[in-house]
Amino acid sequence: MEIDKNFGNYVEVETGKKIYEGTLLPSPETGAFLLKLENGYNIGFNKKDILKLKVIRKGKDEKKEFNPPFSEDKKNIAVIITGGTIAARLNPEKGGVDWLTTPDVMFRFYPELFDKVNVKKIEVPFMKASEDMDYKDWQEIAKVAVRLLNDSEIEGIIITHGTDFLHYTSAALSFFIKNLNKPVVLTYSQRSIDRGSSDANLNLQCSSIAAISDIAEVMLIGHATENDDFCYAMPGAKVRKMHSSRRDAFKVVNSEPFAKISQNKIEGISKYKIRNKGKVVADSKFEEKVALVKVYPGQDPDILDYYLKKGYKGIVLEFSGLGHAPTLRARKSWIKKLKEVQEKGLIVCASAQTIYGRLNPLVYSNGRELLETGIIYLEDMLSETAYVKLGWVLGHKEWAVSKEKIKEKMLENVAGEFNNRLVE
């Protein structure tokens, strides 16, 4: 009984008690399989309970390829597909996941994407869930993006991506792509694309509008609210996933969106760089030995020894409130250890675990004591952006020459990661 070889075929299975007919499908559980009955429902069986299996007819492998529409009147964009919910579709006939990686499949699921633009190119550097990505993937995306941005036929690019770590990628691209000339749009989906309610549809429509707009920025585009009516174009280095499941999961932190986009129009909200004819270059050197650690009550500062021993060059500590960690009055003070590791060459930066607001170590004596150890306080920069930026700065040998130079680069507003006028 070759159960696994018959997935997709219409079969008859015999258990001790009964005979069932249906399409054989793999089960998410091992040792089991599913049978899709004529009424469309799937029921489960243990492989060991099956006495007999008979193939009644082979499943059809229908594949009709076609070219999506193309119009001379529309502007051309390119799409980079990297994986995630927005590009994954369960195959209910054979089980497993189908990736949406070709123009015709993209068109079948997102016909509205093609309403306002021609999708001239689709590039698929890799297919990954965003939680499986790291800096090497950011470098890969940056490489492809730079090539496409320098293609005079392409007006802008859309990058589809999983949501979990999307804001790390958006921060990385903000630093990695130098002299940006065209829109770089990152977008996502929180609801799977096989459902009529998928948020991907509006996100992609708004992304296509942004991709041919004059906003030459790395931006993340997604639902602004729970409603399917408009999206925000959010600055890549100032955005964070703030909800595990809502479609408006991404929020701008300590800043404002570049623009509000609906299916028909785009309205500017804050200042952005204008589209230009320059050449872009990839500047994606990255030091892998950086870490991001959240400080919590009673935490032992010896954790820093671990990073030092493992050869880490820099660490972002997510501090409490205005920028605090346990000090001399705590049972386990961090002051001495912080001094010690920095003397040994570890770069220590501080970001805010409150997410919103700016650090200010001068308000309380605890903050002043911590500041005196030499920590670089990163103002209102997001922790995730800070982690990416620290790796990027330390990856540049010409900057990593001294702590002063590193501090100077960390505090330089390279990609809109700082906002010195918080209004909320």
Binding site: G40, K60, L90, G196, S198
Partner: protein, 480 residues
């Protein structure tokens, strides 16, 4: 319109949808329908997506072409799950248990492993664009006077949001109903006449009501699938009342017959029953290609242990209960009152304490009414005071011989006037000892009289606080 249904090749099957009386199927929200102002309104669009193998389901396409905007009203009794902003929680185990009870009562075989499916629905009545549904059991039957009717399948699914306002290009839905557990029972196309359809519907209804299902308008919906020889299957929805069913089926048979007579075939479609029994086109018949797995949830496993646990506690049907009550010695009048007033559960509780059906039915059904009448109060008010705890206490007092059966009415009357139950029964005893003392005094004051003469004096003195029988007992006790 008396047809020879056999000759016509009449075939009908029933589809019954019944809401279960639990919290929602895939979240912890209560199943409460709201009539007040919503907390907020969320705007959404649904777009048609290719189903399995890239096919767009006919029904899905038909609805999707309408390009509507949907508005969803939220309440403090709805959450992110109904809004399609959070994945479903694990399936409600109480609802599964009730579904299993019903499956067993309908003699069905239960699937030990079954996948929760998404049925594409694009009319906006589900925020997700699909309805979650799971096949629970199959292959059952019920008996009717016109023969056995097969139960094809039993499904557990989530109810849809209810439309509150329909416009040209938009629909407003209320999220309160979305996610209420709904059990769907579909029979085989075994029904051979409109009267059998009605009988089967009533029979299944009785079985459903023996379990924990929601009651009242809109909590049960019946659809009928009808075809005649040479025609195509038509599904008729929207009868709330089984009474209209027979008439509607007759009219539909006539409609289908008019096609067949002309050598044509009626379209296979879903039609809606109007109050006068006629029907109107609703939408094309959905295909099976609109079903795909709910990947956010594990496969539903129904263990043998669970089935045998449910089997042990299966509820009894009304007809079985009536038989049981009759055997306990209750009159038919009392039995029908018990069902009519919905006091069966209370009766059972009280019966466990004393096993005195006559006294219990009197306590539950007759005395509150008598007292209400006497006191000029509303029956609801009386029943609120005479709660089941109070009745249990009074019954226990009889059982422990603190009071006698005949005192019950008097005790209840006292309780209704505001005397706490503990006091109400105590007072009865004190009254008695008080009378004993009086009787002793009478005997001392007027020695040598006959018992009957004392009796006269005592009754005069006690002013009805003691029965003649009791008075005589005390007199005889003292005379010895």
């Amino acid at each position: 319109m008396a047809f020879d249904y056999k000759k016509l090749g009449f075939k009908a099957g029933l589809e019954i949808h019944q809401q279960l009386d639990t919290h929602k199927l895939f979240c912890e929200c209560p199943s409460v329908l709201r009539t007040d102002e919503p907390l907020s309104v969320v705007k959404r669009k649904i777009h048609v997506v290719a189903g399995e193998g890239g096919k767009v389901d006919v029904a899905a396409k038909f609805q999707g072409e309408m390009e509507k905007e949907f508005f969803y009203q939220t309440y403090d009794t709805t959450c992110l799950v109904e809004l399609d902003e959070e994945p479903p929680h694990e399936i409600n185990s109480e609802a599964v248990k009730i579904a299993l009870e019903i499956a067993l009562l309908l003699n069905c075989e239960i699937f030990p492993a079954t996948e929760i499916m998404r049925k594409t629905i694009v009319n906006g009545s589900n925020t997700s664009g699909f309805q979650r549904t799971v096949l629970i059991a199959h292959g059952g039957y019920i008996e009717t006077s016109e023969g056995k009717v097969g139960i094809n399948s039993i499904y557990l699914e989530e109810d849809s949001a209810r439309p509150v306002e329909k416009g040209e290009s938009s629909v407003v839905y209320r999220l309160d109903r979305l996610g209420i557990p709904l059990l769907e029972i579909s029979t085989d196309p075994d029904l051979k006449s409109p009267s059998q359809v009605k009988e089967a519907a009533l029979k299944i209804g009785e079985i459903l009501r023996s379990t924990k299902v929601r009651r009242g308008i809109g909590t049960i919906r019946q659809d009928v699938n009808i075809s005649i020889k040479g025609g195509r299957r038509v599904e008729i929805k929207g009868f709330q009342d089984p009474k209209i069913m027979e008439k509607c089926i007759e009219i539909e048979v006539l409609r289908q017959k008019s096609f067949v007579d002309k050598g044509e075939k009626n379209a296979s479609e879903v039609r809606n029953c109007l109050p006068d029994g006629t029907t109107v086109f609703l939408r094309p018949m959905p295909g099976s290609s609109r079903m795909y797995p709910e990947t956010d949830l594990p496969i539903l496993k129904v263990s043998r242990d669970l089935i045998s646990q449910v089997k042990k506690n299966l509820p009894k049907l009304k007809s079985e209960l009536e038989e049981e009550l009759k055997n306990q010695g209750l009159s038919e009048e009392m039995i029908s009152l018990l069902f009519k007033e919905g006091k069966l559960q209370e009766y059972k509780e009280l019966y466990e304490i004393s096993g005195n059906p006559k006294l219990i039915s009197k306590l539950l059904l007759l005395l509150p009414k008598e007292i209400a009448k006497k006191e000029g109060k509303k029956i609801e008010e009386i029943e609120e005071t005479l709660s089941s705890d109070v009745l249990i206490f009074v019954l226990e007092s009889v059982y422990k011989e603190k009071i006698q059966e005949k005192d019950v009415k008097h005790v209840l009357e006292k309780i209704v006037t505001g005397i706490p139950p503990q006091e109400a029964i105590k007072l009865e005893k004190e009254d008695f000892s008080d009378i004993e003392e009086k009787i002793m005094n009478i005997l001392k004051e007027k020695p040598g009289l006959s018992p009957n003469a004392y009796m006269g004096l005592v009754m005069n003195e006690s002013k009805g606080k003691i029965s003649g029988e009791d008075a005589m007992k005390i007199i005889r006790k003292f005379l010895k």
